[in-house]
Amino acid sequence: MTRTFTVAEMSLRELTRRRGVLLMLLILPLAFYLARRGDHLGQSIRFVCLGLCWALSTAALFTGSAARALEPRLRLSGYRTHELFLGRLVALWTLGVALSLPYFLLIRLDQQDVRYGAIAVIMLLGVVVSPLLGLAVSALLPRDLEGMLVLLTVVGLQMIMDPAGTASRALPFWFTREIGTYAIDHTPAPYLTRGLIHALVTTTLLMLVVAVAFTIRLRQRPHLRFVS
C-alpha cells in the first residue's frame, strides 16, 4: 500500500507542477459549459460533464505516456505492476475530484430545477471512468498524438450521436447523457439505473484493459530468472 501511495504522491506532484496544463484542464470544461449556456441550460450541464471527462482522460493519457520510460525502472526497483497503475489512478482520481468540485458549485449556483445529487453522481463517475480511459489508451497506443485522436473521436462521437441509439451505448461516457437526462429533464429512475450500470460496466472493462495492458508491457521477460 505504501508503494501505491508513493506512486500516487509523486504522480500528483508531477501533475501539479504542469501549471499550464492544469490551467487548460480547468478552463476547458468551462468553455463547454459556456458554449450552450445562453440557449440551453440543460445542455450546458451535459457538455460540462463531457468536458470534464475529456479533460481528465487527456490528463491521464499524458500522465501514462510520460511514465512509460520510468515504469520499467520502477518495476526493477521492486514495484509490482498493479502498484504502478493504481498509484497513477489514485493521483488522477484526486485531481478529478479537485477539478470537478468548482464546476459542481457553479451548477449549484447557476442552475435551478435540476437534480443536484444526480449531477454529483455524473461527475463522480466521470472522475472514476475518465482516468481509466486515458490510461487504457496510453497503454495501448504508445504515441500521444494517436491517443489524442482516439480521445477526440470518442468525445466527438459522444456529442453527435443520438444517446437513445443502441450504438451510442458502446461509448464510454454514455452514462453522462443518461444520468444527465434524469438530472435535467426529471425523467424516471430507470434513466439513473441504466446510467449507473453503464458506468459500472465501463469501469470494469477499462480497469481490465489497463491491468492487462500494463501487465503485458511490464511483464518479467521469460529469458530472465531471479534466483533467490
Binding site: 526493477l76 526497483s77 521477460r221 529469458h223 531471479f226
Partner: protein, 273 residues
C-alpha cells in the same frame, strides 16, 4: 583558449599519455559535446589539456584489481540471441559475473552493447538464451530513466519505496551517494538539470538500496573530469563491497583493471567469464 585549440591540444596530450586512438577520439568527442552544450570555457570546465589527459590516462580502469577469491555468481547470461528483423545483433553471447567483480562490455557502435545490458536487466526480450540473476538489479540507462517534473530527493523517495527503504533513509542514502559524485542535489526538477547531473541522478538511483548486480550503460555521458574519476572510484568501491558491476563502455584501454571483458565488436557472438 578557444575550444578548437584546446581540443586539439587535448588530442595530442592523450596520444602522448599512451591513450589509444579510439579512446582518445571518444574523450575528445565527449569534451567537445560538453563544451558545446554548456558553453563553458574549456580551461574552466576541464583545466589544462595536459592535466586532463593525464587524469584520463590515469583513471581509465582505476586501480589494478588485486587477486581475490571469486565470489558467488551474481549474473549469468548464456547464449543470448537477439535479432532486429532479420539483422542479428547478438548471436550466442555469454557473460558470467561474480560478486566482487567488474565486467566491461565493449564494442563498436551498433554492436549490441546496450541491447545486451537491457536483456540482462529484463527490459528487452531475447530471441534465445537465458539470464540468471542472483539477487537484485540496479540499472542505469544511457539517457532518460528519470521523471522530468520530480526533484532529485523525490526520485530517491520513489525508488527507495520500491526497494522497501524508508523515506528518510532513502533521502540520506541518495544524498550520500550524490556527494560521492561531487553533487549536492538541490530543489531543481530533473528537467532543469544538465545532462551530466541528470546522469549522476541516474547513477545514484541505480545504486540506491545496494542492489547485488549493477548494470551501467555508459553512465558517464556528460560527466566532467572530476566526476568521471569519481564514477570509477565508485565502481571500485562497489566491487570491493562484493557487488557485481557490469559497465558498458568505450573508455577502456587498460583491460587488466577490470575482471571480465566482453568484447562485442569483433562479431555478433562473444563470451566472457
Amino acid at each position: 583558449m578557444r575550444p578548437e585549440i584546446w581540443l586539439a591540444a587535448l588530442s595530442d596530450e592523450l596520444r602522448r599519455h599512451g591513450v589509444g586512438p579510439d579512446l582518445a577520439g571518444h574523450v575528445v568527442a565527449e569534451a567537445a559535446a560538453h563544451l558545446r552544450d554548456s558553453g563553458e570555457q574549456p580551461l574552466r570546465a576541464f583545466g589544462a589539456p595536459a592535466a586532463y589527459a593525464a587524469a584520463v590516462a590515469d583513471s581509465v580502469g582505476g586501480p589494478v584489481a588485486a587477486a581475490r577469491p571469486a565470489g558467488p555468481v551474481r549474473l549469468r547470461a548464456v547464449d543470448i540471441v537477439k535479432r532486429y528483423g532479420r539483422r542479428p545483433v547478438l548471436a550466442g553471447v555469454s557473460l558470467t559475473v561474480r560478486a566482487g567483480q567488474v565486467a566491461a562490455v565493449v564494442g563498436a557502435n551498433g554492436s549490441g552493447k546496450s541491447t545486451f545490458l537491457r536483456i540482462c536487466a529484463g527490459l528487452a526480450g531475447a530471441d534465445g538464451g537465458r539470464v540468471e540473476v542472483h539477487g537484485t538489479i540496479g540499472y542505469c540507462p544511457q539517457a532518460g530513466g528519470t521523471a522530468d517534473f520530480l526533484r532529485a530527493d523525490e526520485h530517491f523517495a520513489l525508488i527507495g519505496a520500491g526497494r522497501g527503504i524508508r523515506r528518510g533513509e532513502a533521502l540520506r542514502a541518495g544524498a550520500h551517494a550524490a556527494a560521492a559524485l561531487d553533487w549536492r542535489p538541490g530543489p531543481q526538477q530533473s528537467r532543469h538539470l544538465s545532462g551530466g547531473t541528470r546522469q549522476k541522478l541516474n547513477l545514484v538511483l541505480a545504486a540506491l538500496g545496494d542492489p547485488d548486480v549493477l548494470l551501467l550503460d555508459e553512465p558517464y555521458q556528460g560527466f566532467d573530469r572530476g566526476t568521471y574519476l569519481d564514477f570509477w572510484h565508485e565502481v571500485w568501491r562497489w566491487r570491493d563491497e562484493g557487488r557485481a558491476v557490469v559497465v558498458v563502455t568505450h573508455l577502456l584501454n587498460q583491460l587488466d583493471r577490470v575482471d571480465v571483458v566482453l568484447d562485442l565488436s569483433a562479431s555478433t557472438a562473444g563470451a566472457a567469464a
